[in-house]
Structure formats: structure tokens, C-alpha cells
Subunit: 215 residues, 2 copies
DNA sequence: AACTGGATTGACCGATCGGTCAGCTTTTAG
DNA sequence: CTAAAAGCTGACCGATCGGTCAATCCAGTT
């Protein structure tokens, strides 16, 4: 009620909350919901366990807050499309923005993967609601493009899953990618090369001719 | 005495070991190493906790045994190739066998994913050794094919990751796939359609002309 | 100086964790 | 048959789990 209007409400509060969120995202992503312990999160944040619970409320609330933050990032990426758009542009932008999300928020991506791996107990509703609707609306446009001869008549849903999986892979399986390529981290140019590769193969593979991707 | 006329060496032993392995694979895949509890495994197997430990020895031993079983399945899939082989045949067989593994052993695939998600603490050596060698040998052949004009000059390692991720997705993200497609399980014809889709898009996307994939 | 309301944390709770072990039952060997 | 071996499991152990709480701390305000 009696909110201090103009200045900073709580200087240290935001800092600690941010510390906790980042630490929790890391631990939940690595060990899943059950495997994560508040003690481990507290140590990663450099705070006592009680302080983590003071800000987070409970383990469940903390986990849900992290999922919501990640789904907001995800939703911010999903803009609408129309039949009159250029398939090449739309699908390339789709691949690039998904890859950018994977790259900018690898922990969040892995958190999402861990949630799905354990059967999506907290995201069932989102998957069967919002996300399904979004996929179906895209699928309809893809089919219209195919009918107009702008791309091959591939199943749009499998295509969307292909793009999701191929990009998501570089967050979820980072340990494998780094181990096999003998790196300690993927550089910006690596992400650039991978994104270009995926755009090229997927667009060509679906018979989408792009005037912007020369070669 | 009059129990079995069949000459099995250990009747109940194999049965219980099998029960435990299947139950453990399910629980480890869902909740990761730390999140899995022996109690949960025991309940899934329908045995008392002590009995699980009697056969498994320890949680770690059980987990390692499951990883080894899965890596054996994986290795059984990896046959050698030569420059003189047909790229279309080899890569299509690659996609199909990887998809068959995903389909026949989804729990094992998810177990592998959970292991990689937590930073591959038990599989580091395998990834940086055997598997890296295998990828590099394949990569060399792919490059030779490209030099001979049999396929586009794409980076072979990104291509291998594309195939792995696109197929692995249908085990690891099964909950998402089922939620979005409004199914309770993927049917055999679904797997058939997805596999055909992936072969078609990836082969075409890499500029590999196959005489067997008509249309 | 006294007051105050949020921030902080050590101590503690019952539940569950992985693992041990003594003792029971069942199977096998002689 | 008996005895030894193997299979099995309830009871229990110290450690850790998520969570609570009372006590303390601290920056403003009066």
C-alpha cells in the first residue's frame, strides 16, 4: 500500500532475488525438480538456506517462477504470421530467433528440457493450450504455402519439431557437443555457422527458395 | 523340487534383475541421478527397497549398469562406412537406425539425455573418446563425398548433430509432442511418417540425390 | 535515544535419503 | 533327511531433505 513511489524500493532485495533465480535455474536445469536441493541453490547463490526460502517462499514456488520466466521469454519470440508473408523469410527468422533464445538462455532451455523429461508435470496445461494453438495456426499457414507451391507439402508439425529440436540441442546436449568437438565453449562464430547451416539445410530440404540465401 | 521342468539356471533372479533395471531406467530417466530414489525404483518394480539394493549393490552401480546397457545398444548401431558407399543410402540408414533406437528404447534415450543434461558426469570419457573418434571418422567420409560432388559442402559434425537431435527429440520431448499433437502415444505409422519426413528433408537439404526416394 | 518494520539466519522439526545388517525363508547339495 | 548356501526383508543408522520459527540485525523516522 504505502509504496515509496519514485526511488528504488529495495536495493539489496532485487540483488538477492536475482542471485537466487540464477542459482536456482542452474541447479534445477542440471538435476531436475526432485534432484535439486535448496541447500545446493543457496550455496550457488552464496546465501544461507533460510534466506533463499525467505525470498522464494518454497521450492515449488521458486521452480514455477523460473518456468514462468522462461515461458515469457519463449512467448516473446512467437510473433504471428500470415499466408502472404514470404516462407523463406518467416522460417529463417523462426530458426534464427529460436537459436538466439537457446544461446542467450541456455540454462533456461535446459530447465525447460528437464521439465519435459519428467513428463511436464507443471507445463501440461501450457502445452495442451497456448502452445498447441500456436502450432496449429502456424501449421495452417504452412499448408497454404504448400498449396500455393511455395514449399514442399511436408507435415508442418514435424517441421516445427525439427526446428525446435535442432536448435534446442545446443543447450540441452551442450556437454556432448563440447566433448565431441573438443571445445570448452561454443564461440559466437560457431553459433553463426550452426545457424546458417540449419537455415540452409532446412529451407532447401523443404523446397523453399530464398532469394536472400545466395549460393 | 517339483517347481520347474525347464532347465533355467536362475529363474527368479533374472526376473527380478530385469524388473529392477526397467523400473530404474524409468525413474532415472524421469528424475535424473539425484532426483531418483531407491524407494521409488523399488515401488515401480514391486519389490522391497532392500531387495533392490541386494541385486543392484548401490544406486551408483545401478545407474552405471543402465548407462552401459544403453551405450551398448548405441554402439551396436554404429557400423563403419566407406567413401565408396552411396551417401543417400548411408545417411538414410543412419537416420532410420537412430530413429529405431529412439522408438524401441525411449526410456534409455531419456536416461541418456538426463545424463548429458547434468553435465555428463559419468559419460565424459566416452564422449571425448570413442564417440568423438567415431564422429571424426564419419566427418572425414562426408567431406570426401562433398569433394566428389555427391553432396553439398556442409559441416559434417553439425549434420550429425542435426540427425541426432531430430530423432532424439521424439523420446526426450515425448510429453511435449503428445501434448501438442493431442495424442496419448505415437503410433507406428506416426514414426514411419516422421522418419520419412526427416530422411526426405535432410537428404534434400544436403543436396544428396537418392534414387530410392522417389517423388 | 527509542521505536519500527523489513532483512537475516542459526537452530530445529519430521520425513526421507542411501545403505547396513541380523535374521528369516527358500533352494540346493550331499 | 540335514546342512549349507542363497534369496529375501524389516529394522535401523547417520545424513540430508524441505520447511518453520524465534531471535537478531539494521536502516530510517521520530
Amino acid at each position: 500500500m504505502t509504496t515509496t513511489s519514485t526511488p528504488e524500493i529495495t536495493p539489496a532485495r532485487r540483488r538477492n532475488q536475482s542471485l537466487i533465480l540464477e542459482a536456482a535455474e542452474q541447479v534445477f536445469a542440471r538435476h531436475g525438480y526432485r534432484g535439486a536441493s535448496i541447500q545446493a541453490i543457496a550455496e550457488a547463490a552464496g546465501l544461507p538456506k533460510s534466506n533463499v526460502l525467505y525470498y522464494a517462499g518454497s521450492k515449488r514456488e521458486l521452480y514455477v517462477a523460473l518456468l514462468e520466466r522462461m515461458m515469457n521469454r519463449w512467448n516473446a519470440m512467437l510473433d504471428d504470421i500470415s499466408v502472404d508473408d514470404d516462407p523463406a523469410e518467416v522460417i529463417e527468422a523462426f530458426i534464427r530467433s529460436k537459436m538466439a533464445l537457446t544461446r542467450s538462455h541456455p540454462q533456461g532451455s535446459r530447465l525447460f528440457a528437464a521439465e519435459i523429461l519428467q513428463g511436464a508435470p507443471f507445463l501440461q496445461e501450457y502445452l495442451r493450450g497456448e502452445l498447441r494453438d500456436w502450432v496449429e495456426s502456424r501449421a495452417r499457414v504452412f499448408k497454404q504455402w504448400a498449396a500455393r507451391g511455395l514449399m514442399d507439402a511436408v507435415d508442418p508439425v514435424w517441421l516445427i519439431f525439427l526446428i525446435w529440436s535442432a536448435t534446442q540441442h545446443y543447450a540441452d546436449f551442450e556437454a556432448q557437443v563440447l566433448g565431441i568437438t573438443d571445445r570448452t565453449a561454443l564461440a559466437g562464430e560457431d553459433y553463426q555457422a550452426i545457424t546458417d547451416f540449419l537455415c540452409r539445410v532446412i529451407l532447401k530440404g523443404c523446397g523453399i527458395v530464398s532469394q536472400r540465401l545466395s549460393e
